[in-house]
């Protein structure tokens, strides 16, 4: 049963104490990550993503709750777990005076099986266009990220835990990174990555969990979410928008969040365009913009604002879309 769950957390909590002050940074996180999936752990800065990851790696200790990785306890079996996972920290720090080759060599030898890992590291470096001969201090942040990815991946781990992996990578490298993640998944391996970039999560993740202020707000299939088809239509007219249109537009099935601002009219629309176009056709339309919803807006529409839901399957009724005035992403 649990061997299909690569990560399982049970009411995992973390309180930071400094002096008398206590801050709850992770609040009863209960989450399952399945084998062979790419899971996006999404949340704004300060949500508690890094804290969760550091707990899973046994770098910091939970105030409450427990977790297993690959069926092993994160506290008691940390060494065994670390053998089988690869980790990329959010802010990668390494010995500045050593060359990438030296660092790779040392880390490979701590894991054991140096030759195989060095071979894999070379392959990865070629692919990422990474020059391994320089000293750590001489790499740009993007190159350091590449080095971090090589270190995390060169032993072909069963699980990759990546904290904001694409920060600092240029678009081309992000593309290569995406391909690499898809290959990892194709091999039946698992990826747990944190991000505050929705588009990235949308592009490669199978499931996504949204964390805000230390609390898991939602977990959902990306496919289920993006299946919801709605978009925001923004129309600019030469003359003022007639008030008479509004009740007619409201009557359209699937139209919501109707807003007017003298010359502009904004409607969130599910379903066909035609009913709307017929109503506005008597006006002189200067400009028309159709805005596809971001994952964030879909989430807000799906769950309402700030609702605490963890649903893996149940289909929620799509009642009243909310305009995405609340940013999930900073």
């Amino acid at each position: 049963m649990s061997n299909q769950q690569v990560i399982q957390t049970q009411a995992l909590s973390k309180v930071y104490k400094s002096g008398k002050k206590e801050t709850l940074v992770l609040d009863n996180l209960t989450l399952d990550i399945h084998k062979g999936e790419i899971f996006g752990y999404l949340g704004p800065n300060g949500a508690g993503k890094t804290t969760t990851i550091r707990l899973l790696l046994d770098l910091i200790r939970p105030t409450g709750g427990s977790a297993t990785i690959l069926g092993k306890d994160i506290r008691a079996d940390s060494v065994e777990i670390h053998r089988r996972i690869g980790f990329l920290p959010g802010e990668l720090a390494l010995w500045k005076n050593r060359t990438a080759t030296q660092v790779i060599n040392y880390i490979a030898s701590v894991r054991g099986g140096v030759q195989q890992q060095m071979k894999e590291a070379t392959t990865l470096a070629d692919r990422l266009k990474f020059d391994m001969t320089k000293k750590v201090r001489d790499y740009s942040s993007g190159n350091k990220r590449k080095l971090g990815l090589i270190l995390a991946m060169m032993h072909n781990p069963e699980l990759l835990i990546l904290d904001e992996p694409t920060g600092g990578l240029d678009p081309l490298m992000q593309q290569i990174f995406h391909e690499m993640m898809l290959e990892v998944r194709a091999q039946g391996r698992t990826v747990f990555l944190s991000s505050h970039v929705l588009s990235e999560v949308q592009a490669i993740c199978d499931r996504v969990g949204i964390l805000r202020d230390g609390a898991l707000k939602a977990v959902e299939d990306v496919a289920t979410l993006t299946h919801v088809k709605f978009r925001t239509v923004e129309m600019t007219f030469r003359d003022a928008v007639p008030q008479a249109w509004l009740p007619q537009i409201e009557a359209i099935e699937g139209a919501s969040d109707i807003e007017t601002d003298t010359h502009t009219l904004t409607v969130t629309l599910m379903g066909d365009f035609d009913p709307l176009m017929r109503i506005v056709s008597e006006g002189y339309l200067k400009n028309l913009r159709v805005h596809e919803p971001t994952l964030e807006e879909i989430f807000l529409a799906y769950y309402g604002n700030g609702a605490v839901v963890q649903s893996q399957s149940s289909q929620k009724p799509l009642s009243g879309f909310h305009r995405a005035s609340h940013k999930i992403v900073k």
Binding site: L59, E80, H82, F87, L94, W95, I107, S109, V110, G112
Partner: protein, 270 residues
């Protein structure tokens, strides 16, 4: 794998042996080159006798007469530098065991590898302990070559100087272990550094004070807790190694490292 981190540490830190040990050796040879006449150490001893005992103690000298002989003079001058250098090195090395990497965020990478925390401490400690022994021995090498710089009629007992060099090791290992201990309980490097520095300076001062107060006073009692008291560089030349002190210091060092592994295991990494 076992020993990898030990070897890695040696690979990246062995040059310290050259810098610290080589520096000390050159200093020793310079000191010895001054001594072109047996009268030199005697004159120094007479001069120093005028000084208050507390001041002599500050230089690690309990009895000015101890430096009247060539051996005494060399060991005083050389081993005082050696003691101070190794005490500083002990703190520097102690911080390199965990504090530097933790402060830089490198611990996140290291501890995500299949290596238990205690082994990082033990392997790096072993590497630095070896380096400290090598520094002390390099200082002795300096003394050895220094004997070629002095006139033939001045005889120097190298075996005494060797014992003096050996005696540098246990005390500095204890300060090294104490620094590791501070870094294992405090996640902030600045606090660990401050504590270790306070210990080195504090026990240095304590040792000086204890020498000038009467034996039944509280100050004298406190002085027994000063690591410096047990360095005892002069008495080694006069009386040979004090095995009780050496074993005591080494046990203390081992105990501190053992506690450090437990303390470091239990806390959050910064």
């Amino acid at each position: 794998m076992v020993g990898i981190t030990f070897i890695e540490q040696l690979k990246h830190s062995w040059r310290q042996i050259l810098y610290w040990g080589g520096g000390l050796a050159l200093l020793v040879m310079f000191v010895m080159s001054i001594m072109q006449d047996v009268a030199v150490p005697q004159q120094y001893a007479e001069m120093l006798e005028q000084f208050p005992p507390a001041m002599l103690n500050a230089y690690g000298l309990s009895d000015a007469a101890a430096i009247a002989t060539p051996d005494g003079f060399v060991s005083f001058a050389a081993l005082t530098y050696g003691t101070i250098a190794l005490a500083i090195f002990a703190v520097v090395a102690g911080l390199s065991v965990t504090a530097n990497d933790e402060d830089a965020g490198i611990m996140n990478v290291l501890l995500a590898l299949p290596i238990p925390r205690w082994r990082i401490i033990v392997e790096r400690t072993a590497a630095y302990a070896l380096i400290m022994v090598a520094i002390a021995m390099l200082e002795f090498v300096g003394m050895f070559f220094g004997t070629f710089l002095i006139p033939d009629d001045i005889t120097i007992d190298l075996s005494k100087l060797f014992l003096g060099s050996l005696n540098l090791i246990p005390g500095s290992l204890t300060l090294f272990a104490a620094t590791i201990f501070f870094a294992s309980i405090f996640s902030r490097k600045i606090i660990a550094t401050g504590s270790a520095t306070a210990l080195v300076l504090g026990s240095y001062i304590l040792n000086i004070l204890a020498e000038v107060v009467t034996e039944d006073s509280f100050g004298y009692f406190l002085g027994r807790f000063s690591v410096w008291k047990y360095f005892g560089t002069q008495s080694v030349v006069l009386n040979g190694l004090n095995y009780t002190n050496i074993i005591g210091l080494l046990l203390l060092a081992i105990g501190l490292v053992a506690i450090s592994t437990i303390a470091f295991e239990r806390r959050d990494i910064a």
